[in-house]
């Protein structure tokens, strides 16, 4: 079966700095793939390459068998890849509902249809009480939910989540885990960047580990957790941090 997403030999250099180095990765339809690695490992750069925000220096990206390398972000979104931003980028002066409606217009050009779809998603994301307030009035957790809601409204087949749980309380991130599971139940494939280890290990079918721009492991969570290279590059750091 054709993988939903296939990244082949992808590299990105910024001047002399290599942010992503020869990364190859495949996602099967319906999979949740976790993407972990220390800060600066190139996780967000990889997202920017897949979503079209950056053009790769080398390599190819195939989505459902179709080459999407170098396409602009709006085209890639229209093909069915949506993303959230690590630092939430709400349309601050628009209401929560209006924010989500922007995404919904992609598949529902009629304003009534777009609004109905947006209301549905706002309700599902638990944002109903804030539906009509400006997005700037939301808390961090609210903004993260809004990021997710907007991306979902575009009707994606593949969703890229960039640290949606960062800065949330344990309860909030548990709620998020449930949300992400629910999204997968609907048949949406997910690529998830996360630093919250408990969440990512319980969510993911497989976990990919980036280190200095290179992929050092792609395995089921329990295998990754025992991988000495991963422990040295990333998890060890985490343990030390939690012990401190």
């Amino acid at each position: 079966m054709t993988p939903l997403l296939a990244v082949q030999g992808l590299s990105k250099q910024f001047g002399g700095l290599v942010a992503v180095q020869d990364v190859s990765l495949e996602l099967a339809e319906g999979e949740i793939l976790g993407l972990i690695g220390p800060n600066g490992a190139g996780k967000t750069t990889l997202f920017n390459l897949i979503s079209g925000a950056l053009a790769p220096s080398q390599g190819r990206i195939l989505f459902a068998g179709q080459e999407i390398t170098g396409l602009p972000p709006h085209r890639i979104c229209a093909l069915g890849i949506a993303r959230t931003f690590q630092i939430a980028r709400p349309f601050a002066r628009l209401s929560v509902l209006e924010n989500v409606r922007i995404g919904a217009f992609l598949r529902h050009p009629h304003p009534d249809a777009a609004e109905a779809r947006a209301r549905e998603i706002v309700a599902r994301m638990g944002l109903d009480p804030y539906r009509d307030v400006p997005a700037s009035a939301l808390t961090t957790a609210g903004r993260k939910r809004l990021e997710l809601a907007r991306a979902l409204a575009t009707g994606p087949r593949l969703l890229l989540l960039d640290e949606v749980m960062a800065g949330l309380t344990p309860t909030e991130s548990q709620e998020f885990v449930a949300l992400v599971r629910q999204i997968r139940e609907e048949g949406i494939t997910l690529l998830v960047i996360e630093h919250v280890m408990k969440a990512i290990m319980s969510l993911s079918d497989r976990v990919a580990v980036l280190h200095h721009g290179e992929l050092i492991a792609v395995d089921p969570p329990d295998v990754v957790a025992r991988d000495p290279r991963v422990i040295e590059a990333y998890l060890g750091e985490e343990f030390r941090a939690s012990a401190a």
Binding site: A53, P72, P73, P90, F91, R93, P111, R150, A151, A153
Partner: protein
């Protein structure tokens, strides 16, 4: 409420504002009619600017470029080819839209944003002014007179006897411009414009073709602005490069929507209702000041100083303009279930 109902409600509001205005020329003296003409004229231009500068957030400091294209196009078509100014107005709108789309595409394509974009529009307007001042075909910096005709002619868009007809023309244009903005405000186009204003990267990530919609915003704003330029030429019956492409035109156009409320449907009208009479009163005041202020007699530019002061005050204290401030006040006074904070 669904989309159609909201649209109808907005158009009903517009009709409720516009219909009583039809009576103005029959009720007041000629001075007040000319003041009303100017007020609607600036409201119309402010509304055109607001589509690009307010909704799409692409701040133009050079709207005179579109205005001047409109003014010169209809005028030259009339003088050289006897084309009715109504058709000239449409031709000017088309030409300005093309020019705006081309200029906008180049600026956006190469990532000119924010202050630099505003400077770019300013430079383009100045460029057109200098070109106009050196072009023989349009009589260089001397300018062009539209010859007076006797009596009134709707076809020639010139009214010697019935000044009030100009009022109906600008009222019609104003209603047209407002109808465009209302339609925009309620459509996905307007929503996309606002998303682009708020955050371009996020808009692109949600499937919005940012470059394309920015160009649409400029073209639409340019076309409407050019029609205002054609109206001015027919009303004033004279244009020159400074009247058409000058900096003061650009500044005047953006002043009212900023004071009234950027990116709101009614902001430009509110701004025009406040500023236009203020400017005219100031001019009249300076012409015949009271004895204690004798030193002001005949000084020009006092109105411009008042504009400047007002602009500073508005930007400092109510960046969302009078309409925005009014809405917040209303929200505080009528605490509904959602505190009346719904931005619409």
């Amino acid at each position: 409420m669904n989309h159609r109902q909201r649209l109808l409600q907005d158009y009903a509001r517009l009709a409720a504002v516009a219909l009583p205005l039809l009576a103005v020329p029959f009720l007041v003296d000629p001075f007040l009619v000319s003041l009303a003409i100017l007020t609607l004229y600036w409201a119309y231009l402010g509304n055109a600017w607001n589509i690009m500068g307010g909704y799409a957030g692409q701040f133009s400091f050079g709207h005179a470029m579109f205005y001047g294209i409109g003014a010169y196009t209809s005028t030259m078509l009339l003088l050289r080819f006897q084309v009715s100014p109504w058709l000239g107005m449409l031709a000017g709108a088309g030409l300005a839209a093309l020019f705006g789309a081309g200029a906008g595409y180049l600026l956006f394509r190469f990532g000119v944003r924010g202050h630099f974009f505003a400077l770019g529009t300013f430079a383009l307007a100045e460029m057109l002014r200098l070109i106009a001042a050196e072009t023989e075909f349009i009589n260089r910096s001397i300018g062009v007179h539209i010859p007076l005709i006797r009596g009134d002619s709707w076809w020639r868009l010139q009214f010697e006897r019935t000044q009030g007809n100009y009022y109906f023309v600008i009222l019609g244009l104003f209603v047209l411009g407002m109808a465009v903005t209302i339609g925009l405000h309620r459509s996905h186009l307007g929503a996309y414009f606002q998303a682009i204003r708020e955050n371009e990267e996020a808009a692109a990530a949600l499937g919005v073709d940012v470059l394309r919609y920015k160009v649409y915003a400029v073209a639409l704003s340019a076309a409407l602005t050019a029609m205002g330029g054609s109206f001015f030429a027919q009303y004033f019956l004279f244009i020159d490069p400074t009247l058409a492409f000058g900096v003061s035109v650009s500044v005047q156009i953006l002043l009212r929507p900023i004071v009234g409320g950027v990116g709101t449907v009614w902001g430009p009208l509110v701004g025009a209702l406040l500023l236009t009479p203020l400017a005219e009163l100031t001019r009249a005041f300076v012409r015949t000041p009271p004895p204690s202020l004798e030193f002001l007699r005949g000084r020009s530019g006092v109105d411009v100083m008042i504009y400047g002061a007002l602009l500073i005050l508005v930007i400092l204290f109510i960046p969302d303009g009078l309409v925005g401030a009014g809405r917040r006040l209303w929200g505080r006074l009528s605490p509904g279930p959602r505190g009346g904070r719904r931005p619409s």
